[in-house]
């Protein structure tokens, strides 16, 4: 394993050369929101449009053949990246759609069953059934399940958190019980940085016959992840956080689970036969990809995966681990800074949320921005997690392959400047 050279990597990202706020160099520390894109991804997408653009799976001419090959080639490449087979990977527009696809399998099966359709009983929910999430979910893995509960009468439960930002597994056995039909948890928290013991929770789900879903948005871009190791039935993540274009995400599903899931979006390309009064559906993954797909984005994502493969995900993970350790240490040297989430570099990723005593997170972010440092402020789409830790919001720095110690140092200097500006240090 060779180590990464962020300075060399930076040169592959045109945006990172720009300046912001009156000519200051950009320090991009917001990759947990979305990553920047290397030239290779932009080139792949553009060259698809300039040479092979056509509606994939929908024509017999040469362009359509090439577009289909490009699209399915990207699927195979992405599947290989997570140790999966191509027909287990569904392309979605983002991770949120993937998680909704999973959730709608339950609400749709429940509604169809009520009207006499045959459905896989694993997906049909009734009052008395329970759905389990955690207190550190991104809204994308919380609100869809609230909606399923509201539409089926099932009850939503959650695994609580410990004070140091971990899942509280003490009462796992009482939260996940024989009423539980689905357990959906995050692999790496986008607000706390915590890496959860996904396998243990998925095993607990399977022990009671529940379907296990994982939100892998923040893990797959940052470390080697294999679908077999997670032990889940369905796993969602997005392309734009792993160097890929906006507008594309993925849902991996175990073959036998995808096979019996009712369709979600319906229309062209996902059907087998269509009559005026009824239709039959294609096998997965086509069943879940209605309409002209995001072909160019899939091609760009394929190039992103190639770029990451070339770096090596072990090297990416090692780089981030080292950088996170450095950032945690430097941040906690500052009086008044409190890290929300694990404070040491154990089972945690590179997203670091913190508060600064006496300054609102929004104002901390503004001072950093005025110095060219891009961070995120707010509840990070994990509002209940903020409430759990008694903060209205946090400031978050998050790194990726193009960040180095200098970027952390800039953030630290910016926080000290904010303290001075607001007269709290």
């Amino acid at each position: 394993m060779t180590s990464l050279d962020p300075q060399r990597i930076k040169k592959d990202f045109p945006l990172l050369e720009r300046t912001v706020r009156d000519g200051q160099p950009l320090v991009y520390l917001d990759s947990a929101a979305t990553s920047q894109k290397p030239r290779a991804v932009l080139d792949a997408e553009r060259s698809f449009y300039e040479t092979s653009n056509a509606a994939a799976h929908r024509g017999a001419h040469q362009l359509a053949e090439e577009a289909t090959e490009a699209y399915e080639g990207a699927r195979a490449r992405v599947a290989g990246f997570v140790g999966a087979r191509a027909n287990e990977v569904v392309f979605t527009k983002n991770a949120t759609e993937g998680l909704n696809l999973a959730a709608y399998a339950f609400s749709n099966a429940s509604a169809l069953a009520r009207h006499g359709r045959e459905v896989d009983p694993r997906f049909a929910l009734r009052p008395g059934d329970s759905i389990v999430v955690t207190e550190m979910e991104h809204h994308a893995n919380l609100v869809p399940w609230q909606e399923v509960a509201a539409k089926t009468g099932a009850t939503l439960r959650w695994i609580g958190l410990t004070d140091d930002g971990r899942l509280d597994l003490g009462d796992l056995g009482s939260v996940i019980d024989s009423s539980t039909r689905v357990v959906s948890i995050v692999h790496q928290s986008n607000i706390l940085g915590t890496i959860t013991p996904v396998r243990q929770v998925m095993d607990a789900a399977h022990a009671v016959g529940a379907i296990g879903v994982v939100d892998a948005c923040q893990s797959i871009p940052h470390m080697p992840v294999s679908m077999a190791d997670l032990g889940a039935d369905l796993v969602a993540w997005s392309g734009h956080k792993m160097l890929g274009p906006t507008g594309i995400g993925m849902l991996w599903g175990r073959e036998d689970v995808l096979a019996t899931m009712p369709p979600f979006l319906t229309g062209g390309s996902m059907i087998e036969m269509v009559y005026l009064d009824h239709s039959t559906y294609a096998p997965p993954p086509q069943r879940f990809e209605a309409g002209v797909p995001m072909v160019a984005q899939a091609v760009g994502l394929g190039a992103a995966v190639e770029y990451l493969d070339d770096l090596g995900m072990d090297a990416v993970a090692a780089h981030e681990h080292e950088l996170t350790g450095y950032a945690l240490a430097r941040l906690q040297e500052i009086d008044g800074v409190t890290v929300i989430g694990p404070r040491t570099n154990v089972e945690r990723g590179s997203a670091i949320s913190f508060t600064v005593e006496g300054i609102h997170p929004h104002d901390v972010g503004q001072i950093l921005d005025s110095r060219g440092i891009a961070v995120r402020v707010g509840h990070h789409c994990a509002w209940p997690t903020c409430r759990r830790y008694g903060v209205p919001a946090t400031t978050r720095i998050s790194t990726y392959i193009y960040n180095d110690h200098g970027d952390i140092d800039a953030a630290v200097a910016g926080i000290r400047a904010a303290q001075k500006y607001f007269g709290v240090a």
């Binding site: 706020r21 009156d22 200051q24 609102h360 997170p361 929004h362 104002d363 503004q366 001072i367 005025s370 110095r371 060219g372 402020v377 707010g378 509840h379 509002w383 903020c386 209205p392 919001a393 500006y421 607001f422």
Partner: protein, 152 residues
């Protein structure tokens, strides 16, 4: 970049020493507004007295801009005739839309002119408008006819 245009002394002062905090008892109208992206919150209560003067109280939590804006707003509108308040509201909305190029009317806006710099920061405009949206909504709930532009 210089953030002093954003964080005017008046704003920091209102943030550190907010005026008029507290909800009215049994208000005619009440509104709770949040900024869903950052979680800032403001609750505004209003009551119109027999002379057509508006009384206002508020509570909130959030960044310097949203909380200072609430404080400035309460000073500006408390105890004044409703028609006058609508003029202030309209002037403030115009200022926020000016992208930093407006010349605010100091006579109408008083301390609120300090928010001129905020209008250059799209993400912060919502912060400054939050208490004003709550005021507008509380007025509607109190049955007070409102006029002028929307806050969208």
């Amino acid at each position: 970049m210089d953030v002093d245009s954003l964080y005017q002394e008046i704003i920091l002062d209102h943030y550190r020493n907010p005026r008029g905090v507290g909800l009215l008892p049994e208000p005619h109208g009440e509104s709770h507004q949040v900024n869903p992206t950052c979680g800032d919150e403001v609750t505004v209560t209003v009551t119109a007295d027999a002379d057509g003067l508006l009384h206002v109280g508020y509570e909130g939590q959030g960044c310097s801009i949203s909380q200072a804006s609430a404080s400035v707003m309460s000073e500006l509108v408390e105890g004044r005739p409703i028609a006058e308040i609508h003029r202030v509201e309209a002037a403030f909305l115009d200022l926020m839309r000016s992208k930093g190029s407006g010349t605010p009317d100091e006579e109408v806006l008083q301390d609120a002119v300090a928010f001129a710099g905020v209008s250059k920061y799209p993400a912060r405009i919502k912060c400054a408008l939050l208490p004003w949206m709550a005021l507008r909504d509380a007025e509607v709930k109190a049955g007070i006819p409102v006029e002028g532009g929307s806050y969208e």
